[in-house]
């Protein structure tokens, strides 16, 4: 029983050498999040321990992701295949520059949101498992960024979706249930479409491993008799991921739901979830099906323009600050879609840079709005006022983040916009450039109006009743994220280099493929 009766050559099907210790870095983010999330579920009664464990786990996650990024940037993509089966049969986790940097920045955003939540989430929210859901959400987000298998990507989408349902209805107010219902139904349709498309892809390629798909796509395009329907496939993927990313015309679920949950939850969603959709879109269209993307680039560009302009107009029309930020998130999605539509090296690295910037600023902007709403006791722009006098440092950080979100110099929002403008002018798409500029102008207008009314204007109806001033629960995360946007606005070189390397790795995935299949890039 202890040894098989007939000798079998395991080397034909299984990895026989021990994996390098550094390879574990690609698994650890997800494993750590699942393990700590499970621990919080087991000690659900001891709510005091939740925050301690969760914040320690998220800090560790930031550290692991930073190590992973360092490893990837010095030695190229890192792969580990589950169970020791050789790829493409085992499920691979592969971290390249793109995945690693997205994982690191989203971990930073989640850590900031977790610190902010110390005051935002009450005991009832903790008892309903806020931190457990948060950690499982991060397991899904990290898994989506680091997996190298397209079906596994679907699984992580489901993991983060289910955790997000839990977070969305924390508090069980009727308004939240209504928002969650819209969010749930439309996102379930989106993921189901994704699943159907993955099935379709499997029928065409006979493989789910992304590196394997990338190296087989070229040969399949050469087939002329009974040509495989790659075009249909990429159109379906674009539709499914646009639904997840909240691109027009399938984005109405976002403004309908993102203003209902606790502000920490909105911050997490606005910062991370739509960016996972953008990540999947870039991964599939730029790396796996670039030729097919080229054919529908005009459709993607049209969707990008409408997402930007309608998002910006929507933001301008809002009186509720939380709804307004939801529309600002959508404008960012339009910008990233423009980068995907152009598809050149500059534009893809611009889109990646925009995604990184957007994770930080959108999380921070929601936290800022939450803090402003808490200080003033309302989220309505018509009743807000006098914040500058009450909290000058907080107001300065808010101003920096609002300018960054609008894309004004010298903050981090400027550089991706410049790259996207340059890329669209390079191919002569003046209308795309114009849309980027007009939407940026409208967002500037919206946020300047917010600042003018909520911060500079004296509080309407005199000074309101005293609310506890800002303390480290809010200043620490907002300050950290604001410092990041200021730093990378003034000194963008490292981030530019990373996003350029990420874009190059997507345009020419041979290093990615070699990491999964060391024997060579040809099938």
């Amino acid at each position: 029983m202890a040894s098989p009766s007939t000798p079998v050559d395991l080397a034909a099907a299984m990895v026989t050498t021990a994996p390098a210790l550094a390879d574990w870095l690609v698994i650890l983010p997800t494993a750590l999040m699942i393990l700590s999330g499970a621990a919080l579920m087991m000690i659900r009664k001891s709510v005091r321990l939740h925050a301690v464990i969760a914040i320690a786990a998220l800090a560790l996650l930031v550290l692991i992701d930073a190590l992973l990024l360092w490893q990837v940037s010095s030695n190229g993509p890192v792969t580990m295949t589950m169970g020791g089966w050789l790829p493409p049969f085992g499920i691979s986790f592969t971290a390249d520059m793109f995945g690693a940097v997205m994982a690191l920045v989203s971990a930073l955003a989640a850590l900031s949101a977790a610190v902010y939540s110390l005051r935002d989430i009450d005991t009832s929210g903790l008892r309903h498992g806020f931190f457990a859901f948060l950690l499982l959400l991060m397991a899904g987000v990290s898994g989506a960024f680091l997996t190298g298998d397209i079906f596994n990507l679907y699984v992580w989408f489901e993991v983060l979706l289910i955790s997000s349902f839990g977070l969305l209805i924390l508090g069980s107010e009727p308004k939240q249930i209504e928002g969650a219902l819209k969010y749930a139904i439309l996102n379930l349709i989106g993921t189901t479409l994704f699943l159907i498309t993955v099935g379709y892809l499997y029928a065409i390629f006979g493989t789910l491993n992304m590196a394997d798909i990338a190296r087989k796509a070229g040969a399949l395009r050469g087939v002329t008799e009974n040509a495989p329907p790659l075009m249909t496939l990429s159109a379906l993927f674009v539709l499914a991921f646009c639904m997840k990313a909240a691109a027009f015309p399938v984005n109405f679920w976002l403004p309908a739901s993102y203003h209902t949950p606790r502000i920490t939850v909105s911050a997490l969603f606005g910062g991370l979830l739509t960016k996972v959709g953008i990540y999947a879109l870039i991964r599939v269209t730029i790396m796996l099906l670039p030729v097919e993307r080229e054919a529908i680039s005009l459709v993607i560009a049209a969707s990008a323009v409408l997402t930007m302009i309608l998002g910006a107009l929507g933001a301008l029309a809002q009186n509720d600050l939380r709804r307004m930020v939801g529309y600002v998130v959508i404008v960012g999605i339009g910008n990233m879609l423009a980068g995907v539509a152009i598809g050149s090296s500059t534009s893809v690295s611009g889109a990646i840079l925009y995604a990184l910037h957007s994770i930080v600023t959108m999380t921070a902007l929601y936290l800022v709005i939450g803090e402003a709403g808490r200080l003033a006791g309302t989220f309505e722009l018509s009743r807000l006022g006098g914040l500058w006098r009450r909290a000058p440092w907080f107001s300065a950080a808010s101003l920096a983040l609002m300018l960054a979100a609008a894309g004004l110099p010298p903050l981090s929002g400027l550089w991706p916009k410049v790259m996207l403008l340059k890329a669209s002018l390079d191919i002569g798409a003046w209308w795309l450039a114009a849309a980027i500029l007009v939407s940026a102008f409208l967002v500037t207008l919206t946020l300047a109006r917010t600042f003018l009314l909520a911060y500079w204007r004296p509080a309407p109806g005199g000074e309101s009743e005293a609310v506890a001033a800002t303390d480290w629960h809010s200043t620490l995360p907002i300050g950290l994220l604001a410092a990041l946007t200021v730093f990378f606005g003034i000194y963008p070189e490292p981030l530019l280099a990373i996003s350029q390397a990420a874009a190059d790795g997507l345009a020419d995935p041979s290093a990615y493929i070699r990491s999964v299949f060391p024997e060579g890039a040809a099938p």
Binding site: M1, A2, V15, A18, P19, D23, W24, I27, A31, I34, L35, G37, A38, A39, L40, M41, M42, I43, R44, M80, T81, M82, G83, G84, G90, F93, G129, A132
Partner: protein
Amino acid sequence: MNTLILRTVAPVITALMLLFSVFVLLRGHNEPGGGFIGGLIAASALAIFGIAHGPGAVQRAIRFHPMAIAGAGLALAAVSGLVSIAAGVPFMSGLWIYPDILGTEVPLSTVISFDIGVYLVVVGSVTAIALALETEPDGGAGEGEGGG
């Protein structure tokens, strides 16, 4: 559903189904079955018990909160994968030990412990849903139980 027949038979059915669920769980290693379907059978056993005797009785019978059981299962499954670090093989590799218990060689593996983890996750989460559905909304509890 609070009939005398159901209340009398439910504990017997529940015990049988729980036993069967463990059988299906262990059988699943080489034949049809496994942690997921075993967990579903166990959860339906608890659901039947809940229909007959109320969610409070189920909660007392399983001692731990269903979500805590699910959490324990998730942790067990994750640990089963992470054991691979110590053995120097990729994540989630099946590792076996063959201890000799009372003269019989018993093969134990991380595959089994992972499947037990799946079983606990399914039992915990489905039971949590079932108990939430069986719990009467606030205020209606008294009338609901007397209705049979």
